[in-house]
């Protein structure tokens, strides 16, 4: 049984641009354009790249006011949603009863409602979770008539400013409603590449026009999912289903920075989210394994699934790589994975086994490439 792949409003444009299309989370998506993954990656770091991320889920939560929505939303995420100012966005994640992560997300206070963007592969489950937990007091409105574009890179501000100079005044994680070429867009200054940039929710009918006006700017190239993955890996960002999943706690994943103090032990809104017992105890007592950055000492990339060992010979696997590949900006192989807490210190050496051979990797600080956010 095969289900037809879904298409984003930019599907025809991708084909016209010569994209290589692949199935991803039920969508037919561009993995690369004729430029190729390596050059698309480098172009994004040097200038600006345009990504179609319309496969991601866009959801609006409405209630009596933002405060009531935020209070309800906080029962699903270990994050301070109530204290988020209007016009600001924050990273968060849905947790489960055992303290694992069900999905990671971005949410914004857009005045009278809360706007959530979730991963494509999890969106059905996320919508069901929000609906069953929050309705009927809160309405869960799935946004089906908007595309989502990301414009990323040091040239993103200059490029988007040509369509509306107001975007230049936005700071990292600001959100605003902005007119872009006549389309009413929900813009946030954020992204998942480690670069400055914007994410733009645009009415589907105007998506292609907007994409084409951005691509007409010399500095802007279309970028596929291949480079999106190497960019986020260099930025040390987690990919759901790979670096984090229903088994990993946010403490193991090194995402404690996203759990504000007031949701932790002794905080004014302590707990009250799924798996709070485990997450709060993990925060207090520490965890047995941690996500770390790993740099293979040789030139060979080591990819997801490669088992890690403490010794060059013998012994049981102590962890594994959850994301790995070649970092074009780093100019060598990079990876992330889980290792025992004792080895989760900069400079520790572990061994990855592939093709029957073990090769050393060094535990390094994340990110691999410094972020270029406009604070």
């Amino acid at each position: 049984m095969t289900e037809a792949l879904k298409r984003t409003p930019l599907y025809e444009m991708h084909l016209e641009l010569g994209a290589k299309m692949v199935p991803f989370a039920g969508y037919d998506m561009p993995v690369q354009y004729p430029l190729g993954v390596l050059k698309e990656h480098q172009h994004t770091r040097a200038k600006a790249g345009l990504f179609d991320v319309s496969h991601m889920g866009q959801v609006v939560l409405r209630g009596a006011d933002y405060e009531s929505v935020a209070r309800a939303f906080e029962t699903l995420v270990p994050v301070n949603a109530l204290g988020l100012n209007e016009g600001r966005q924050r990273y968060g994640f849905f947790t489960n009863e055992t303290g694992g992560i069900e999905d990671d997300l971005m949410f914004a206070n857009r005045g009278d409602h809360l706007f959530v963007v979730v991963n494509a592969a999890c969106k059905e489950a996320d919508i069901a979770r929000m609906t069953s937990a929050l309705a009927p007091d809160i309405t869960v409105e799935v946004i089906e008539d908007r595309a989502l574009l990301a414009l990323q890179g040091p040239g993103a501000e200059a490029a988007l400013s040509r369509l509306n100079p107001a975007v230049a005044d936005m700071a990292f994680m600001d959100v605003a409603t902005v007119d872009l070429g006549g389309a009413c867009c929900w813009v946030s200054r954020s992204g998942y590449t480690g670069e400055d940039g914007f994410e733009i929710s645009v009415p589907s009918a105007g998506a292609e026009d907007l994409a084409r006006s951005l691509l007409a700017i010399e500095e802007v190239e279309p970028i596929g999912l291949g480079a999106r993955d190497s960019l986020r890996l260099e930025a040390g960002l987690c990919l759901y289903g790979h670096d984090i999943d229903a088994e990993t706690s946010p403490v193991e994943a090194g995402l404690t920075w996203a759990i504000q103090k007031l949701r932790r032990a002794g905080g004014s809104r302590e707990g009250g989210f799924p798996g709070a017992d485990r997450i709060i105890s993990d925060l207090a007592e520490g965890v047995a394994r941690k996500r770390v950055g790993l740099k293979p000492e040789g030139r060979a990339p080591m990819r997801e699934g490669v088992p890690l060992f403490a010794e060059e010979d013998g012994g049981e696997a102590i962890g594994q790589i959850t994301s790995g590949g070649f970092g074009p900006t780093v100019g060598g192989p990079i990876a992330m994975g889980y290792v025992p807490a004792a080895l989760a210190t900069e400079g520790a050496i572990v061994y990855g086994e592939q093709r029957g051979k073990r090769a050393p990797l060094r535990v390094v600080k994340l990110p691999f490439v410094p972020a270029g956010f406009k604070r």
Binding site: Q32, G36, V37, L38, K39, G226, S230, R299, A300, P301, R303, G325, F326, P328, P333, R355
Partner: protein, 119 residues
């Protein structure tokens, strides 16, 4: 020039067989970022994995197209794997091998047959 179904090209040069991958294969692989070459002097049998290539997308192997001995490897590729994309059917040969009987190459595809094979 002869071709295999594994998208290698073979060229006889001074009684040894020079082996590389086709332009079509290099395009399919995407940007090559790592090449691991065999040791010179290694005896190989047909279909042995002799070279590891990693592109930005995935790892793949080059299989020995014939029985024989690896006489020389193109060490430049270890330092500059991107040459595989730049000039796959020229400068970016992978290894040279000595084979007992060059007539075994007659069974491989010629250029027309390979073009037909990749459609």
């Amino acid at each position: 020039m002869k071709y295999t179904e594994e998208h290698e090209w073979l060229r006889v040069e001074d009684d040894v067989v020079v082996v590389g991958i086709t332009t079509h294969a290099a395009e399919q692989l995407g940007d090559v970022v790592f090449v691991e070459l065999p040791e010179e002097g290694t005896e190989v049998a047909r279909d042995d994995e002799v070279v590891v290539i990693e592109s930005v997308k995935a790892a793949s192997d080059i299989l020995a197209p014939l029985d024989g001995e690896i006489t020389e490897v193109n060490a430049v590729l270890s330092d500059e794997p991107s040459k595989v994309n730049d000039d796959p059917e020229g400068e970016a040969w992978f290894f040279k091998m000595k084979v007992e009987d060059l007539s075994v190459m007659d069974d491989l595809m010629d250029e027309a047959a390979y073009k037909n094979f990749i459609g």
